[in-house]
C-alpha cells in the first residue's frame, strides 16, 4: 500500500538521522611543550592538502591531537582531496583571493608565479630567525624552487627527484647488469631483452596525459636528450632534433615495451603494475622507493627492487625536482597560527613523530631535509636507495635544466602559468600517438604548434 511504503521511507530517513547528528567530539589534548615555541598562539586556520600518503598521515596525526599538544589554542580545519581536485580548488581560491585557505599545499611550479602575483606570504625571514627550525637543513636545490626575488614563499614537506627502479631477479635471470648510472640507450637494450608481454613489460613510464603525469617524466627525458620546450626567444622547440628524438623515444618505448593501456597509467597505476610484478624497469619519482620496498605495499617483490640513477643521454640526468610544500595565503587572517602549523609540519620533530607513531618510515616525509639522510635508522631502512636519492636531489638543477639555453626554469615542467594547459594538451596529443590515432611525427608537429600558440597568446614571443 502507498502509505506503507511511505512509512518504510520515513523509517529509513529516521534511521539515518542519529547517524548524522551524532557529531564527533574534537579531541583537544593540551600538554607541556618545548620552551622555545610560543604555545599561546591562537586562531583557526583552514588548510588544504593533497591526499598523498604522507599528507594523510599528517591529517591523522592532527586529528589525533598531536598538533594541539603543542598549540592547544589553534584549531586546524583540514581539507584533503586528490591532486587534481585540490589543485583546482586552491588555484581558484588563491587567484580570486577568496581566502578559504590560510595554508595550502603547492608545488614548486606555482610558488614563484604566485609569489610574483602577491598571493603568497613570505615566510623565509621568520623561519630563518628560529634556530630550532634549522632552515639550513633543508636542501638548497629545493629552496631554490620556492624562492622569488630573494624571499622564501613556501616550506617543503617532502621532496623528490627521479630514479630508475628495476627487478633484480629478472636482471639476474637474464644475465644483465644495471649500472648505477645507466644511459637511455642501455635502458632500451634492457627493456628489449626483458620484455615478455605475457608476464612482464620491459619498461614502464607514465602515459597518462597531464602536465604533472606524463608531462613530468617526458620533460626530463627531453632534457636528458639535450632537447627543450622553447628556445631562448620563446620559439617552440619540441620539433628540434634532440627534442623530437626524445619524444619519439618515449612514445616508441611505451609502444614496444610498455604495458597495454599505458595511456591510462599515471604514477599510481604504474606503481600498482610494478608491485604486481609487471614491470622490469620503471623510471619515476624517487618517492616511490619507500612504497615499493615496503613489505606490506609490495609483498611479493619488495626484496627484488634494484635502484639506479635516472638515465642519461646528452645530459647526465633530466633535472627532475619536485616538492610538496606548505605556503600561506597573503590574505590569511591568522598568520601567526598559519606559520606555526607550517613550521610544525615541515620540522625535524614532525618526521620523528611520524616514524614513532607509525613504527616505520612508510609514510614519513623524506627528501627535503639533510638530517634525515644522516639518521642511522633511516640509513638502515633505506640503505639501497638513500644515497642515490640524496645525490639525485643535490644534482638536479631546475634553474638550468637543459643543454641549450632556455628562457624558463623548471626540471619536469616549464614555469609559465600557461604550461598547465599546454602540458595537458601536448601530452594528450602524445597519448593519441601512443595508441596510434596519429603518427608520432604528426603529434610532435601538433605539439610544437600548440607551444607556439601559447607563446604568442601569452605575450612571450615578441
Amino acid at each position: 500500500m502507498k502509505t506503507r511504503r511511505l512509512l518504510v521511507l520515513l523509517a529509513l530517513v529516521a534511521l539515518m538521522v542519529p547517524l548524522v547528528t551524532a557529531a564527533a567530539a574534537r579531541p583537544v589534548a593540551a600538554q607541556e611543550a618545548s620552551p622555545q615555541v610560543n604555545t599561546e598562539i591562537s586562531g583557526t586556520i583552514d588548510v588544504g592538502m593533497v591526499g598523498n600518503p604522507q599528507m594523510v598521515a599528517l591529517q591523522e596525526l592532527v586529528q589525533a591531537g598531536e598538533f594541539n599538544k603543542i598549540y592547544p589554542n589553534i584549531q586546524v580545519n583540514l581539507t584533503v582531496l586528490p591532486e587534481n581536485e585540490i589543485r583546482q580548488t586552491i588555484t581558484q581560491d588563491v587567484s580570486t583571493q577568496a581566502g578559504q585557505f590560510d595554508v595550502f599545499t603547492v608545488g614548486p611550479f606555482e610558488v614563484p608565479l604566485w609569489a610574483a602575483n602577491g598571493w603568497l606570504e613570505e615566510v623565509g625571514e621568520e623561519v630563518a630567525a628560529d634556530p630550532s627550525y634549522d632552515l639550513d637543513d633543508i636542501f638548497d636545490s629545493m629552496k631554490a624552487g620556492l624562492t622569488y626575488e630573494g624571499g622564501l614563499y613556501a616550506l617543503p614537506f617532502y621532496g623528490e627527484s627521479a630514479m630508475t627502479f628495476y627487478r633484480k631477479d629478472l636482471f639476474e635471470a637474464a644475465g644483465l647488469e644495471m649500472p648505477e648510472r645507466p644511459t637511455w640507450d642501455q635502458i632500451a637494450e634492457f627493456a628489449e631483452a626483458l620484455h615478455n608481454p605475457d608476464e612482464v613489460y620491459g619498461l614502464c613510464l607514465r602515459g597518462l596525459p597531464g602536465w604533472g603525469e606524463m608531462g613530468a617524466p617526458l620533460t626530463t627525458v627531453i632534457n636528458a636528450f639535450g632537447g627543450r620546450w622553447f628556445d631562448e626567444n620563446w620559439n617552440a622547440a619540441l620539433a628540434e632534433e634532440d627534442s623530437a628524438a626524445a619524444i619519439r623515444f618515449y612514445i616508441e618505448s611505451l609502444q614496444k615495451w610498455g604495458p597495454p593501456g599505458v595511456e591510462q597509467n599515471g604514477f599510481t597505476e604504474t606503481e600498482t603494475l610494478f608491485v604486481q610484478g609487471k614491470c622490469a624497469i620503471w623510471y619515476d619519482a624517487t618517492s616511490a622507493a619507500e612504497l615499493i620496498t615496503d613489505p606490506q605495499e609490495n609483498p611479493n617483490y619488495y626484496q627484488q627492487v634494484g635502484f639506479a640513477y635516472g638515465p642519461s643521454k646528452k645530459l647526465s640526468g633530466g633535472n627532475w625536482l619536485w616538492s610538496w610544500n606548505f605556503a600561506m595565503a597573503a590574505n590569511s587572517d591568522a598568520k601567526e597560527a598559519a606559520l606555526a602549523f607550517m613550521k610544525w609540519a615541515t620540522s625535524k620533530e614532525y618526521v620523528k613523530l611520524v616514524v614513532e607513531s607509525e613504527g616505520g618510515w612508510g609514510r614519513a616525509p623524506t627528501g627535503h631535509r639533510a638530517s634525515i639522510y644522516s639518521d642511522p635508522d633511516y640509513q638502515q631502512r633505506a640503505a639501497d636507495f638513500a644515497q642515490i636519492v640524496l645525490t639525485a636531489i643535490e644534482e638536479a638543477n631546475p634553474n638550468e635544466p637543459t643543454e641549450d639555453p632556455v628562457p624558463y626554469t623548471g626540471g619536469q615542467f616549464v614555469r609559465i602559468p600557461e604550461f598547465q594547459q599546454l602540458g595537458n594538451d601536448v601530452t594528450q596529443t602524445f597519448a593519441a600517438a601512443i595508441v596510434g590515432d596519429i603518427s608520432i611525427d604528426e603529434a610532435i608537429q601538433q605539439a610544437n604548434d600548440l607551444a607556439n600558440q601559447v607563446a604568442i597568446e601569452g605575450g612571450y614571443q615578441e
Binding site: 511511505l6 581558484q92 595537458n424 597519448a431 595508441v435 601538433q446 601569452g458
Partner: protein
C-alpha cells in the same frame, strides 16, 4: 516525507500567495504561480551567465592577472579558427549524444518490455535493471575504468580471454574510447529510459492487450502493433530528457579518459572544463560556454518544434 512536504507547501504557499496577490493585484493566476520559480531560476542561472558572457570578451588566465584585459571577439576568433580541439569537440558531442540517447532508448525499451510481463522474480529483475541509474556517476566511471575495462586486470577482457581462446585483450579506453564512454553512458541511462517507457507500457489498457491476445497475436505482434505505437510519445519524451542530461555528462570523461586520447572523447562541455579548470583559461572557457548555449538553443528549438506533440500531449 512527501506528506510533510505537501503540508509545508500548503502553509508557505498560502502566505506567499496572499502577499504576492496583493502585490500583483489582477495578474492572471497562472503567471503568479509561475513567477517564484521563474525568478529563482533567472537569478541563479542567468546572473552567472551574464558574467560568463562578459568574461568571454576578456583575455583572462586566472594565473596571469597581469595580462587580463578586454579583447572583444578575440577568444571566439581563436576558438573558431585556431583550435582543432573545438571542431573535434563539436563532432564528438553530436556522436556521443545521438549514439548514447538512441542506444539507451533501445536498451531501455528492451528492459521495459522484459519486465512488462509477469514471471518469477520480476520485481527483483526490475530492481537490478534500475540500479545503474542510481549509481553515482563518479563511482560508476571509476568502477568501469578499473574493475571492468582495465586491460590487465579488468573483468571484461578476462571474460573475452576465457570464452574466446586466442582473442585479443583490447585496450578499451585507448583504442575504443568513444565506444567505451558511450557504453558506460548507455549502461547508466537505459534504466532511466526503462522507467519512462515502462510507465508508457503500463498506461496501455489491459483490455486492448487482452483483445489482441484473444485474436491470437504473438508477443512480437503485440509489441509491434500495440506497444510501440503507444510508446511513441514516451520515447520522444525520453529522447528529449536524455539529450538534455547526456550532453552535459562530464564526470565519466573526467574520470575515465580525460577527454583523450588526443581529443577523441572531448565533448563541448568537457572542453569548457579543460579550459576553465585544467587550464585556468577563463576567457576561452567562457567563450566556448557561450557557444555551447547558443548551439544548444538552436538544436533544442528545432527538436522541440519537431516534438511539438510531446508538449501537446504529455
Amino acid at each position: 516525507m512527501a506528506i510533510t512536504e505537501t503540508r509545508l507547501e500548503q502553509i508557505s504557499h498560502r502566505r506567499a500567495r496572499n502577499s504576492v496577490l496583493r502585490w500583483l493585484g489582477n495578474q492572471p493566476i497562472g503567471r503568479v504561480l509561475v513567477l517564484p520559480a521563474l525568478i529563482y531560476v533567472i537569478v541563479v542561472t542567468q546572473l552567472p551567465f551574464i558574467l560568463t558572457v562578459w568574461y568571454s570578451f576578456q583575455r583572462w588566465n586566472l594565473q596571469r592577472p597581469d595580462r587580463r584585459g578586454f579583447i572583444g571577439l578575440g577568444n571566439y576568433r581563436t576558438i573558431l579558427t585556431r583550435d582543432p580541439a573545438f571542431r573535434e569537440a563539436i563532432v564528438n558531442t553530436v556522436v556521443f549524444v545521438v549514439a548514447a540517447v538512441i542506444l539507451s532508448l533501445l536498451l531501455g525499451l528492451l528492459y521495459a518490455e522484459l519486465v512488462n510481463h509477469r514471471f518469477p522474480g520480476r520485481g527483483i529483475v526490475r530492481t537490478l535493471l534500475i540500479t545503474p541509474f542510481l549509481i553515482m556517476p563518479v563511482a560508476a566511471a571509476l568502477t568501469w575504468k578499473n574493475m571492468m575495462l582495465n586491460p590487465n586486470f579488468g573483468v571484461v577482457n578476462w571474460v573475452l580471454r576465457t570464452t574466446i581462446p586466442g582473442s585479443p585483450s583490447p585496450n578499451w579506453l585507448g583504442h575504443f574510447p568513444e565506444a567505451s564512454i558511450i557504453g558506460v553512458l548507455v549502461w547508466r541511462w537505459a534504466p532511466f529510459m526503462m522507467l519512462i517507457l515502462l510507465a508508457g507500457m503500463q498506461s496501455i489498457s489491459e483490455e486492448v492487450r487482452e483483445a489482441a491476445r484473444v485474436d491470437g497475436a504473438t508477443v512480437w505482434q503485440e509489441f509491434r502493433d500495440i506497444t510501440l505505437p503507444h510508446l511513441y510519445r514516451f520515447m520522444q519524451l525520453g529522447g528529449l530528457l536524455g539529450t538534455v542530461f547526456i550532453v552535459q555528462e562530464v564526470d565519466p570523461l573526467y574520470m575515465m579518459t580525460k577527454g583523450g586520447p588526443g581529443n577523441a572523447t572531448t565533448t563541448l562541455p568537457y572542453l569548457v572544463f579543460r579550459k576553465a579548470i585544467e587550464g585556468s583559461n577563463i576567457g576561452q572557457a567562457a567563450a566556448v560556454g557561450v557557444i555551447v548555449v547558443i548551439l544548444s538553443i538552436i538544436v533544442i528549438t528545432l527538436l522541440l518544434r519537431a516534438l511539438d506533440r510531446v508538449l501537446k500531449e504529455i
